[in-house]
């Protein structure tokens, strides 16, 4: 029996050497820096007791969602699980509203009732914010089903982690999405650790997660998730494939999180050297910084961007501390839907 899966049909040609124009690099720099500084501030507010419960920071993975958002079109939807602050900011949600949700305040995106893991913005096409890993796969496929049903050409960008990629519901989704040629792009954010479990310890054939759709006829590609230009190029190619009506595609984006799984994670499952090596030699923001410098961008200009972002984040943090908690009566609202 042939052990190697056959190449899927309609495998798109590999993308050309990825690069961005200077303005796109600057935009990517700004967006990634916003996520980085926002998450640093969130960690700080957690340390001060303003944020409670779980808080999963996206630091290190910024290029993934930033590149994908640069590739997507107006009208495309986004859904992910609970390492979600970066996705919210990247879809254009207001940092003040996101931070105020983290501190559990009335002005937060979910009126303080959802917290770090559960925020949504219908306006920005962000469908959450889900606490149970793996669930974005069927939910995103359902959003894609609605796109097809309505006859629009939007695609649902469906993010989940490499740990979730072992769940049954992911494969049930692959099957139906391929059968019905749903406009869904599955993005596996492979940061190598499912909480404290290294990917190769819990995942069969872990080096080729992008082939997980082969049996369903879903093409896949692996991307360097620390390079925003590579992510954008692969995202554009994949979205074009999906939008053309050919059915779903899988992008496995190789990335790395610097911080613990959540805030109270002493991280005994990896070495400090490993984390430092990623920070020093593979940092996605530093890479863009270098390319911008090589393109002749003035260092002062880049510093000004950082300063501007810090001000935005500080303002959000202040807002999130000053806003009131929800009214006690909010406990009983939004449980069941109102009649039309």
């Amino acid at each position: 029996m042939d052990q190697k899966p056959s190449e899927p049909r309609e495998m798109p040609a590999p993308p050309p050497e990825p690069t961005l124009n200077p303005d796109d690099y600057l935009a990517a720099y700004r967006n990634m820096l916003l996520i980085r500084r926002f998450e640093e501030k969130a960690g700080q507010l957690y340390g001060m007791g303003f944020i409670g419960g779980f808080c999963h920071l996206y630091i290190g993975q910024e290029a993934v969602v930033t590149g994908m958002m640069m590739a997507k079109r107006e009208g495309d939807q986004v859904i992910t699980s609970y390492r979600d602050h970066g996705h919210m900011l990247a879809t254009g949600m207001d940092p003040k509203g996101v931070m105020a949700e983290l501190t559990g305040r009335q002005s937060g995106y979910s009126k303080g009732k959802g917290g770090s893991m559960h925020m949504f913005s219908v306006e920005k096409g962000f469908y959450g914010g889900h606490g149970i890993v793996g669930t974005p796969a069927p939910l995103g496929s359902g959003i894609a089903f609605a796109n097809k049903y309505r006859g629009n050409d939007n695609v649902c960008l469906t993010f989940f982690g490499e740990g979730a990629a072992n769940q049954g519901q992911v494969y049930e989704s692959f099957n139906m999405a391929s059968l019905w040629k749903l406009p869904v792009l599955y993005i596996i954010e492979n940061n190598h650790y499912a909480m404290g479990t290294a990917v190769e310890r819990a995942t069969a054939h872990a080096e080729e997660l992008y082939h997980r759709g082969l049996a369903f006829g879903i093409p896949g590609r692996q991307v360097d998730g620390m390079d925003v230009a590579a992510v954008k190029a692969a995202g554009e190619e994949a979205l074009a494939h999906v939008r053309s009506g050919e059915g779903p595609m899988i992008l496995e984006v190789l990335t790395y999180r610097y911080r613990g799984h959540s805030m109270s994670d002493p991280a005994k499952y990896r070495t400090r050297e490993e984390v430092q090596d990623m920070r020093q030699h593979h940092d996605p923001i530093e890479l863009v910084h270098k390319r911008l410098s090589a393109l002749g961008r003035d260092e002062e200009e880049l510093k000004a961007v950082d300063k501007e972002i810090r001000a935005v984040v500080n303002e959000a943090a202040q807002f999130a501390q000053d806003e009131p908690e929800p009214e006690p009566g909010e406990l009983w609202t939004d449980v069941v839907a109102a009649k039309d």
Binding site: G52, G53, G115, P328
Partner: protein
């Protein structure tokens, strides 16, 4: 602009810590991500990283200082680009900097750690939700099953569960793991269980201690005795088909041929601030299912004695633990073979005026309420159900026939709750003995909100229990 570096909270429960070591000196430049200090909490030693670039201007707390309060300034950092804010930039007050726990902690063991490996004194390896008080030892009424004069040892619920599993795994005849090949992996790479309660077991028995629900049920059909650990029961929603459809019904469907001796265990109910999808009590959901046994202990002794019983049980058992109770200490009898009966409630406090019936963390409210009620001249009897299916109604009814009043206490939702069932049965079977309508104290009938103030309102409270008890005793509640 100089900014204070504050003592960070390294876990949701940390209030103070020891500044074990400085990795920087005054005048030294630091960059974001540099390790600047090591801090010891009661649970672990964590490295602290700089989160902004700058120069350490002064160190305010020398290394070795104990009891440094969270948010106390420990050093002053001079930020790198200290210039006046750009014109037009929003005016933001300078904020103190709280340093971050580092992503990678040092490999050495925390000083306070107990001598044996993985004893539950350190932070769990994976995600941990905030927990309640860690050190209070609760003196509950002695177990009726424990012979007088038995030596008692204080241990946490987490340690009691670990001991129960390790002891049962050692019982060669009963254990499927013991017959399997020994662990050949390096201990540092073996999974220690989500909450360290299964740490020792996993160390010894490698991959055989933790199962997937459906795989576990199949193995149980074939005669093994798996223990399936859910990181939390919230995640068991993905596996409930196998608990209800595959495990619970098989004995019946096979006309008595096929047993399913399996234990599903893990923390159930609300933790703290982890919001709707991670805070819910499934007690009444599982208590409804014929074919299952459902256990929800409060004390460490019950956790140990009942988990051992669950592993020996020939029916599938749903074992509902509580995360906030994991770190709490209770006296546990030092007995070689401490196994408690499934389906038997325990009188946690004897009294004559009103019966408080509860289980799991609900007991914490009932016990505190009983103390307050005693001060007001009301002598409450507390029943700890311990097992939710089968329910020990005889113990409840005997108590109600004595006190003539009943209040049930649980953190779960009110509709079709465990308390609903108890109140219905008491009404049907002891109607003539009741001097007041039975009352239920439950969680609010909403998904768990994240906001601190709303979460408090969504859970029961000692005040509510006291008020309900006074109400059924027709005593006035102060406004």
């Amino acid at each position: 602009m100089p900014t204070d570096i504050l003592m960070p909270a390294l876990s949701p429960t940390m209030e103070e810590g020891t500044l074990a070591k400085w990795h920087v000196r005054e005048g030294q430049s630091v960059q974001t991500g540099d390790v600047i200090a090591e801090i010891e909490t009661d649970k672990a030693t964590m490295e602290v990283e700089a989160i902004e670039d700058g120069v350490i201007q002064s160190i305010l707390v020398p290394e070795g200082t104990e009891h440094v309060a969270v948010n106390q300034p420990i050093a002053v950092l001079l930020l790198e680009d200290d210039e006046a804010p750009a014109e037009g930039a929003p005016a933001v007050a300078p904020q103190p900097t709280v340093s971050e726990p580092a992503a990678a902690a040092p490999p050495q063991a925390p000083a306070a750690q107990a001598p044996s490996p993985g004893l539950g004194e350190t932070e769990p390896e994976v995600e941990t939700a905030p927990a309640g008080p860690q050190s209070r030892t609760v003196r509950a009424a002695p177990e009726p099953e424990v012979p007088a004069g038995t030596e008692m040892v204080d241990m946490t619920v987490r340690e009691a569960l670990r001991d129960a599993m390790a002891e049962e795994m050692r019982r060669e005849a009963m254990s499927s793991w013991a017959r399997r090949s020994p662990n050949t992996r390096a201990p540092t790479r073996s999974r220690k269980g989500c909450w360290r309660s299964s740490a020792a077991a996993a160390h010894r028995y490698a991959d055989h201690g933790v199962w997937f629900a459906g795989i576990g049920v199949g193995a149980a059909f074939a005669g093994l005795r798996p223990v399936v650990e859910f990181m939390t029961w919230n995640f068991a929603m993905q596996a409930i088909d196998h608990i209800v459809n595959s495990a619970a019904k098989t004995l019946y469907m096979s006309g008595g041929q096929m047993h399913c001796p399996i234990v599903f265990r893990g923390p159930n109910g609300a933790a703290a601030r982890v919001a709707a999808q991670h805070s819910q009590d499934f007690s009444s959901v599982y208590a409804q299912v014929p074919g299952l046994k459902v256990i929800a202990p409060y004390s460490a002794a019950d956790a140990k004695g009942l988990l051992k019983a669950a592993i020996r049980e020939n029916s599938p058992v749903v074992f509902l633990e509580n995360e906030i109770l994991y770190g709490q200490s209770f006296p546990v009898p030092k007995l070689d073979n401490f196994v408690l009966p499934i389906g038997k409630a325990r009188i946690a406090r004897a009294g004559k005026d009103v019966t408080l019936v509860s289980y799991s963390r609900g007991l914490a409210y009932a016990i505190d309420a009983a103390e307050r009620l005693a001060a007001q001249g009301i002598d409450a009897e507390i029943i700890d159900l311990r097992t939710l299916r089968p329910l020990d109604m005889e113990t409840v009814l005997t108590s109600v026939r004595k006190t003539n009043r009943i209040v049930t206490v649980e953190e779960g939702w009110p509709v079709c709750s465990v308390g609903t069932e108890i109140c219905a049965q008491v009404t049907a079977q002891a109607f003539d003995y009741l001097d007041a309508p039975p009352l239920k104290i439950t969680g609010a009938d909403v998904p768990m909100p994240y906001a601190a103030n709303l979460e408090k309102l969504a859970l029961p409270s000692v005040e509510l229990v006291v008020s309900a008890a006074k109400s059924v005793c027709y005593r006035e509640n102060a406004a």
